[in-house]
Amino acid sequence: MSNSKHLKIVLAGNPNCGKSSLFNKLTGLNQKITNVPGTTIENKLGVIKVNNTAINLVDTPGTYSFNPKSLDEEEAVKIFFETPKPDIILYIADSANLKRNLFYFSQLARKGIPMILVLNMLDVATFKGVEIDKERLEKELGIRVFKINGRTGEGVDEVKKTLDEDQFVPHFDFGEDHTNSHEQVYTSINQLLQKTTVQKTKRELVSNKIDKIATHPILGYMLFLGVLFLIFQSVFMLAEYPMNWIETGFSYFSEFLNGVMIDGWFKRLIINGLIAGVAGVVVFVPQIAILFFFMSLLEDTGYMARVSFIMDKMLRGLGLSGKSVVPLLSGAACAIPAIMSTRNIENWKDRLITIMVTPLMSCSARLPVYTLLISMAIPNTMVAGVFNLQALVLLAMYVLGTVAALIAAIGFKWIIKHDIPSYFIMELPIYHTPRWKNIWMTCWQKSLSFVKEAGKVILIVSVILWFLASYGPKPNKSFSLQEADNLEVSYAGKFGKVIEPTIKPIGFNWKIGIALITSFAAREVFVGTMSTIYSIDDEENFDQIRNKMKKDTLATGEPVYSIGVVLSLMIFYAFAMQCVSTLAVVYKETKSLKWPIIQFIYMTLLAYTGSFIVFNLFS
């Protein structure tokens, strides 16, 4: 091929065939995620140079066939229908699993595009007693075949070196392909494999031994609970340090700007609007990154598939599926990436229910709110000598969120009508030792997509809220504005007063009303708003905020923040849909306004009712 051309090479293959490893090895760090126009789905693009030929290498999500069953798979095959067509398809196959891997290959082979076949995971194949005759396979298929080890990188250079050379269209006859003739395709694959592979006696894989424990009726669940405990323990413990650094960094930056900028509205917009907004997003990155590190570790090693396997039966009764486990767990960090991870759920109803209930899982933005409120109302005492009461209440909030999500799922199961039955036909990949590079990549890319998705919305909302909190109408002249001396006379304060009659039954006054409004940027803004209302400079000083809030009294002399009000607030924050970024993502993922609106309404109703009950029980 000519040296001046930009070659477009597409990587394709089944899930779990080592495609990402090969992509990472071929491109190194020269990769970026591109949004496919009109969709929210992302393709990975890497630009490499081979013998002076520039090559655009596109990685596609793994799929089993040309007939996509999920959004992920839809994206994988779309690229083969685009113009210009890919110049070469680099097909990666799991050698231990060649028959099924060649099914998708056979479908691609009909496209008339030159192909290269890369055999990966030969070590597992050898272990299973399968030997592949590479030369014979090349002859039968009429294309180049390579043997690589995606883990060590062995053989990858040979593949890379030949990418700029002429490649061939497979000439093997796989027979006709339509839905009712998959048998015929498998028959021809069998004939091909009979000529090109030798099956010797196989040994039992370690994988099968691990599965005896991982899927055991008792040990399996204990192992899963243990893993969960470890993950959340590390998320909270490890994330604390970087979160502190980020907060300190931003406050130094604000102080610096405060010193160098000229006083005026622009300065306040930058410092109190923009920078506060950005800080509110970035501060959650450590928790989210750590949680995603563990999630991709569990997925990469193959354990997550087992969790789906043992949870499927239980979740099915609730209108979910085993595949809902990953989104629900991710929801404990942030609903945005969690909702995006529902794309591999094939059944629309299963996927929709998962999307609808995931925001009820207690995300990291609720944590600062819970921490402040618990410290106000719950005594710091020990229960039964070992458990800290405040910690127990915090744990209870997490349990409450999970239970609410599961119950809401049952509700949606009855409401949403869908004729196509859900199914759970899923490969349980063999266990791997972690491929660290892949894990870091996934972790980095997911955190980045959080910053982008949440960042856009939060930034806009924080600027709007800053305006509402800083300006108010001039007395007697409602159409001109002036800077508000304090929150009470600002637009936000006015709104707070307007909604006060509505929130009075659940124990909230107009000050809390303001916090409810500002929380739309992100729930943790509650803490910042409280410190503004009670005029505390240092937002991080929980003790100060707490003490001022505690001293606030009603006309009758009773404290505003009674136990009933505090508990009511906690319930409200647990259930209410106060996150504009999540609604935006739900809109994108369901491609309709209907679902985010329903989600907003049902969660608000749930919050209001819950708070109403709790407030009346405790006061």
Partner: protein
């Protein structure tokens, strides 16, 4: 006999994949007539079931396994 009725470890040959919305998916995953399949372990509560098929492990719900008819290999020897 359908696939969900096999005991753990019982080797069988797939005879037919009945019509269902997930027939295509089953076929793509290698469940086609003539193929050997063997249940290797079950999830707690007995559902879904993991099968060894074509050298990899496939998880299928009981309700889906009902759509695949099989002939156990020991039966072949009896008849």
């Amino acid at each position: 006999m359908t696939l969900d009725e096999l005991n753990i470890g019982q080797l069988a040959r797939i005879q037919q994949v009945l019509d269902s919305p997930f027939k295509e998916k089953l076929q793509e995953m290698g469940c086609v007539p003539g193929v050997l399949i063997q249940p290797i372990f079950k999830a707690p509560f007995g559902d879904p079931i993991a099968y060894d098929i074509e050298g990899y492990t496939l998880s299928i719900r009981k309700s889906e396994a009902k759509n695949i008819t099989v002939k156990p290999l020991d039966d072949l020897f009896k008849t």
